[in-house]
């Protein structure tokens, strides 16, 4: 057997929420039976952005904020891969906010996990877009779940909490299945407290509302999902669970990309394409 890199132990502070995400993701990959070499983890920059070093899979450390375009390029070029983007809330919602918007809209078949701790961990504690109003002198925090619901192309939106470990793993597993079945973009936010700069563990218990408990809740109904999440938010609560799960046009479909037809999977030797190239050349004769 060839020896490739060995995953390292995480370097997070003891108690960091990101450990929980790491464990949940490891379990979800196993539960979804993803062979190690078919998974490509594309991580952001931040404390969260070292998770790829700790997993048995292909890993890429993207630029700060560019997890999603990178992941989109990779997933479109080779749809046989399971591409999993993973990063922080600063990475994904501040510098990467525009790409998130367009990923919900484009609906590429990949998974994106955001580790939300309300803070920039690696740069030592500045507010992230999800920092609570108490920290921001009254600025309302961003709710990426609402944002995702507002973009009509989105198909899978969930939120978990590292404290509720098994639910988080299950949500990630479902997201993986969504992406692997080429149903589109699976967005999962993990509430993952930063014990060093924004220790919010104590707050969450009372604040999280697990929507999956409600048997009547229908994740296929976007409008109701939105009302529910918004009403909860008015009550100071954050919805957790599988919030949206529906179907829609995917980026891969629109580009006609699949296991046979994809950029990384073509025989690109000129010799195999001479007649096509000659036809193109003829188009430009005068």
């Amino acid at each position: 057997m060839t020896l490739t890199f060995k995953p390292k132990a995480p370097i997070w502070c003891a108690g960091c929420g990101h450990f929980g995400v790491h464990t949940a993701l490891t379990h979800a990959l196993k539960a979804a039976h993803v062979p190690a070499h078919e998974a490509l983890i594309i991580a952001g920059i931040g404390c969260s952005g070292s998770i790829q070093n700790n997993l048995n899979a292909y890993g890429y450390h993207a630029l700060h904020g560019r997890v999603l375009p990178t992941a989109t390029g990779a997933a479109l070029a080779n749809p046989n891969l399971l591409v999993i983007g993973a990063g922080g809330d600063g990475d994904g919602y501040a510098i990467g906010g525009g790409h998130l918007l367009h990923s919900f809209k484009r609906n590429p078949s990949l998974v994106y996990i955001v580790m939300n701790n309300g803070v920039y961990g690696l740069t030592k504690g500045q507010n992230s877009p999800t920092a609570g109003a108490a920290l921001t002198n009254g600025e309302a925090p961003l709710d990426a779940v609402q944002l995702g619901l507002s973009v009509s192309g989105s198909t899978f939106i969930a939120r978990g909490f590292v404290g509720w470990w098994d639910q988080l793993a299950a949500l990630i597993r479902e997201g993986i299945q969504h992406a692997r079945a080429h149903c589109g973009f699976a967005f999962i936010e993990a509430i993952s407290p930063c014990v060093t700069y924004n220790d919010s563990y104590p707050e969450w218990d009372g604040k999280l509302a697990d929507i999956s408990q409600d048997k009547a809740y229908d994740p296929a109904d976007r409008v109701q999902a939105m009302s529910r999440v918004m009403r909860l938010s008015e009550q100071g609560k954050l919805a957790v669970g599988k919030i949206l799960h529906t179907t829609g046009s995917t980026l891969d479909q629109r580009h006609n990309v699949n296991a046979q037809r994809a950029p990384a999977l073509q025989g690109v030797l000129p010799a195999n394409n001479v007649s096509t190239y000659e036809a193109i050349a003829r188009d430009h004769l005068v």
């Binding site: 990178t70 989109t72 367009h102 994809a262 000659e278």
Partner: protein, 594 residues
């Protein structure tokens, strides 16, 4: 108008011809030039087309140019044989460039043609286009069809051929539109007839040349084709003048080959999508112009650090910032060669003709993958958008080189696989995600051979040195300069991109005076090749011609150790190309003994 007057002399044998069509943006001058070009190409002429437009959709002075010749045409000429002017502004701007005894076809619908500033003997063919076209819906097209017939009659082109060409060019339009335009064309023949251009009487007489079929492409198109032919299958871009054509051309051809063209939400997304695709092993390109390239620099540095192959095309336009979007410049040389954070190996190619653009697209794709680095292709608006006839290479003869890419599904062979293995040539064998047991960590951080972060000083030095060695490894692949003229001359003239054509025209201009110089036109901008330093060292006087203010190429050569005591910089940055006469005058002003 005395219809016999201009016909007194014999028609002139057409060895070369310069035509301009000008009016307000949206008048469709480009279409008319295309029609004439296609007709002339049928006679076997070499063609060169260019344009000068404002950065707006309708209105503003807009001109299209055509130069035809029995020999390949290196650049747009300055002097005009024939001007088709749709308004007074067009006469004011271009009228003075019409040669003695040239012809102006003028749209006299609203005003008479102003005669001030015109040279002696210029014939004015007054055509009230508006009067004829007033009832037509597609007024622009109608005007052009009319003007096309008038022009072809004056040029002495065969009516049948002229009619056939229009049918061909308009073939995809609705039948009623075609019919209306064919009618307009016939009206045009009548108008020409009223000026005496009928029954075979004309001002020019075309040659019938060897009609070898030629390809006719812009630099952008040819570059895109070269990329595609090198197995390029992924393109991510964002519209920007003058680079958009590349995306549009690829959108037409790439999907059929299992490729993808994606319009990103911005340039940060384009370059990073490209990096993501590159990681999967797809041959990948993006393209933009100055403002977009500036946005991409962080991503380009990432490609350098993470060792990802990507081709970045920069169709340079006049800066700084938004500047003059439709005007040519070569003012991103510093940006491309040195504009990113940190040190990393990169290559900047600078083709000058559509044929070289095809080759640069092909070669850049190979070099990027072989060396696992970002490779720029630097065009300027002239090279990018001017359109010329040339011959593409034989498609059956093309090859590609995938460097140290390991076989698809097999493991990398050795007992272990290190994505960033230290090697003598600086290049690590690599395998793509999906390969069993080929797992790797790819990162823009400093790391050890396995891809794990490692900032230890020894590791750092080894990794930096490894990456730097790549340039040496691929040095033999870098395209060398085109040299011509009198190699023994004491005077050397250097220029890249859009300067090539005018340097060629200057050669002819000098030849007429029995003069010469040594011309050197690099096709690799970075690294600066030894041949250029040798060329400079071998002359007693060297002139560096370039389109920017600060002398960015001049500075680059100096930074690369060229001694510059005998070097002179000739710059231009007003958004206009040099004419050979301009260049000759500037060289003289700088004391060139030519």
């Amino acid at each position: 108008m005395d219809d016999g007057m201009m016909m007194a002399s014999q028609p002139q044998i057409m060895d070369s011809l310069c035509v301009a069509v000008a009016g307000q943006g949206g008048d469709g001058s480009l279409t008319l030039v295309t029609l004439i070009a296609r007709a002339l190409a049928d006679y076997g002429y070499h063609i060169y087309e260019s344009r000068n437009v404002a950065s707006r959709i309708k209105g503003g002075h807009a001109a299209a140019f055509l130069r035809a010749g029995v020999d390949p045409v290196p650049a747009q000429g300055h002097d005009l044989d024939l001007l088709i002017a749709f308004d007074v502004e067009a006469i004011e701007i271009l009228g003075p460039r019409v040669v003695e005894n040239g012809v102006i076809i003028f749209d006299s619908s609203s005003e008479p043609c102003p005669m001030g500033g015109l040279k002696a003997g210029v014939e004015i063919v007054d055509v009230p286009f508006g009067r004829y076209a007033v009832r037509e819906l597609r007024r622009d097209l109608y005007k052009n069809s009319l003007g096309y017939a008038v022009t072809c009659a004056i040029l002495g082109l065969k009516g049948d051929l002229v009619r056939a060409k229009m049918r061909e060019v308009y073939s995809r339009l609705p039948a009623n539109v075609i019919a209306a335009n064919l009618a307009a064309m016939e009206t045009g023949f009548q108008v020409a007839g009223n000026f005496g251009y009928r029954g075979g009487r004309s001002r020019w007489q075309p040659r019938t040349l060897n009609p070898t079929p030629k390809h006719h492409m812009t630099g952008n198109e040819a570059l895109a084709f070269g990329f595609l032919a090198a197995g390029g299958r992924f393109f991510a871009g964002y519209p920007i003048t003058p680079a958009t054509d590349i995306m549009e051309w690829l959108e037409k051809y790439l999907p059929d080959l299992g490729g993808v063209v994606i319009q990103a939400e911005d340039e940060l997304a384009s370059i990073n999508m490209a990096l993501g695709a590159a990681m999967t092993g797809a041959r990948t390109m993006t393209a933009s112009s100055g403002p977009g390239i500036a946005l991409m620099t962080e991503g380009i540095s990432q490609a350098g650090s993470a060792e990802l192959p990507v081709v970045i095309v920069n169709c340079q336009r006049a800066g700084p910032s938004t500047g003059m979007p439709t005007k040519p410049e070569q003012s991103d040389i510093g940006l491309m060669t040195q504009g990113a954070n940190g040190d990393f190996p990169r290559v900047v190619l600078c083709p000058a003709t559509p044929g070289e653009c095809f080759e640069a697209g092909r070669l850049a794709t190979d070099i990027a993958e072989i060396a696992q680095i970002p490779v720029f292709v630097a065009l300027d608006q002239v090279v990018a958008q001017d359109k010329a006839t040339f011959t593409l290479p034989h498609m059956g003869s093309l090859t590609i080189n995938r460097g140290k890419r390991l076989a698809g599904t097999k493991g990398p062979g050795g007992p272990d696989y290190r994505r960033y293995q230290l090697t003598d040539d600086g290049i690590s064998p690599w395998t793509i995600p999906g390969t069993p047991e080929g797992m790797s960590l790819v990162t823009g951080n400093e790391r050890n051979e396995w891809g794990h972060v490692d900032t230890g000083p020894d590791n750092r030095r080894r990794m930096m040195d490894k990456r730097a060695r790549k340039l040496e490894t691929i040095s033999a692949m870098l395209p060398t300069a085109v040299n011509w003229g009198d190699a023994s001359s004491e005077i050397g003239i250097i220029g890249v991109g859009m300067e090539r054509g005018v340097m060629r025209d200057l050669t002819s201009l000098l030849a007429k005076q029995n003069k010469s110089a040594a011309f050197h036109s690099p096709r690799t901008l970075w690294p600066v090749l030894p041949e250029t330093l040798e060329f400079i060292a071998g002359k007693s006087r060297v002139f560096v011609i370039e389109h920017n203010q600060e002398g960015q190429l001049f500075r680059l050569l100096g930074g690369a150790l060229a001694s510059r005591s005998h070097m002179t910089n000739i710059t231009r940055y007003d958004g206009r190309a040099f004419s050979p006469e301009d260049l000759f005058r500037r060289l003289h002003e700088e004391g060139a003994d030519l």
